[in-house]
Amino acid sequence: MPKEYHLTTPLSEDSVRRLSSRDVVYLTGRIYGIRDATQRRIFGENIEPPVSFTGYPCLHTAPNVKKVGSKYIKLCIGTTTSTRMEKYSPQLITKYGARAIIGKGGLLKESLKAMHEYGAVYLAIVGGAAALQTTQIEEIEAVYWEDLFPECIWQFRVKNFGPLIVAMSSHNESIYSEIRDRAHQRLPKILTDLTFKN
């Protein structure tokens, strides 16, 4: 049976290794928002990020915000498709120490391998449910690389951020591949049934 966990960041290797696929997680504490352009700079241009991601969850996002003075105020903060960023994710885990990647759509084989080796998980958020998730973000604590706006590094403080479903675990489990394999197994019968309905 899937379990429910309320975890505080930074996450330890132990707390992450304990998670199995389909467990539900709620996070409290600091998390970082990153996206395509942020990671193109880190991994494409080899520029070191100004903060340490070690132990922290990284959320695939580019938020709607309002700038008041030098402070960013949240308007609507939600999540983007992770699969586009598969290229960078193994290194984000092994080199920069992210213990969790939060997103939608999932990551692929190389990331799953990195999660197994280093001890990390992929947490699936409910995509599109940004109005709800915005209420769980207490504050935008800091913003780095503002020139990449809206794809900066966002430092958020969250409270009971979730539900997040463990969709890829450190035990080589991926719900995405499981569901895709099941769909491919079902495909021949689905198509046969459709053919008889000509």
Binding site: P2, R22, V24, A37, T61, A62, P63, N64, K66, L75, C76, I77, G78, T79, T80, T81, T83, K104, G105, G106, A124, V126, G127, G128, A129, A130, A131, L132, T134, T135, F149, P150, P163, I165, A167, I175, Y176, E178, I179, R180, R182, A183, H184, R186, L187, I190, L191, D193, L194, T195, K197, N198
Partner: protein
């Protein structure tokens, strides 16, 4: 005066679409929650329903992706404003929504990736035009199209030898290929026939502006819509691609005739936040909000 009404409506519909889901979409999601049996699919649908309530309560936009702005227009030939003026006013309204609300700017140059910061750019917003004779009003349907679903678009120039079964196979394989990415369960739009460009546009219209629960007027096509919807749900992709018996809320087909040698088919996905907002603008400046084109 009427120009200003067009501009204000283009602005207001963008924001309205981002905040208020059409009633047919809400009903379809309620029903999906009832019929979903798998876990975590049911819990995910529960969170989606909760999000709709929170957005209404906090007057916030539903999803952070403010999309690519698309305006579908249905213009009465007796509507007393020049086309160029209408299109220019829509561009201004779209830009004002982005700056005044403010909304996340998504529109960038495809190569340099430079952001215009207005959600207006070269040929963006996209404006589709249809004309209706003898009426004196204009209908505007605004769709902020999210990229998660738009990135899952597929088109194939099938040949006639592949027959109807080839079309069915392409549609269902596209559903599996798209998997978790288009934020299921949403609307699957299928275009059949025409040319490359027309076929893609038909799929776009099918996924974005038709009401959930509507059927194609041609009986054979309507039957194909129901068959393919059942089949899409049998894949078990489920809510957010994490498994379940609801993968789509609806499957719509739009078709055009085609060349003797051709059988193009296109699939375009709309996410569960299937946003659209419309208005009818009369020539005297009166505005009525609508959810569907051409309803009396």
């Amino acid at each position: 005066m009427l120009s200003r009404v067009i501009e204000d409506t283009a602005r207001n519909l963008y924001i309205r679409a981002l905040k208020v889901l059409p009633p047919d979409v809400k009903q379809a999601l309620d029903k999906a929650y009832e019929v979903e049996t798998e876990s975590p699919g049911k819990e995910i649908l529960g969170t989606m329903l909760k999000n709709i309530k929170v957005a209404e309560k906090t007057d916030n936009i539903l999803c952070q992706d403010t999309g690519t702005p698309i305006y579908f227009l249905r213009i009465g030939t007796k509507f007393p404003l020049e086309m160029t003026e209408i299109m220019e006013r829509i561009r201004t309204g779209c830009q004002r929504a982005t700056i005044e609300h403010p909304l996340r700017p998504n529109v960038v140059h495809p190569i340099t990736r430079t952001n215009t910061h207005t959600n207006v750019g070269t040929l963006i917003p996209i404006i589709y035009l249809d004309f209706v004779s003898k009426i004196d009003y204009l209908e505007m349907m605004m769709v902020p199209k999210g990229s998660g679903s738009e990135n899952q678009s597929f088109l194939k120039m099938l040949v006639p030898a592949e027959r109807l079964s080839g079309i069915k196979k392409f549609v269902i394989e596209s559903v599996i290929k798209a998997g978790a990415n288009p934020c299921p369960p949403g609307v699957i739009g299928v275009g059949i026939g025409g040319t490359f460009e027309l076929c893609a546009m038909l799929a776009t219209r099918a996924s974005m502006i038709r009401q959930i629960g509507s059927s194609h007027p041609e009986e054979k096509i309507a039957a194909l819509e129901s068959q393919l919807l059942v089949a899409a749900n049998q894949t078990g992709i489920g809510p957010m691609g994490l498994g379940g018996n609801v993968t789509a809320l609806a499957l719509h087909i739009e078709m055009a005739d085609t060349h003797i040698t051709q059988m193009p088919v296109a699939v375009n996905f709309q996410c569960w936040v299937a946003r659209r907002a419309g208005a009818r603008i009369y020539s005297k400046g009166k505005i009525e909000y609508i959810w569907d084109f051409g309803r009396e």
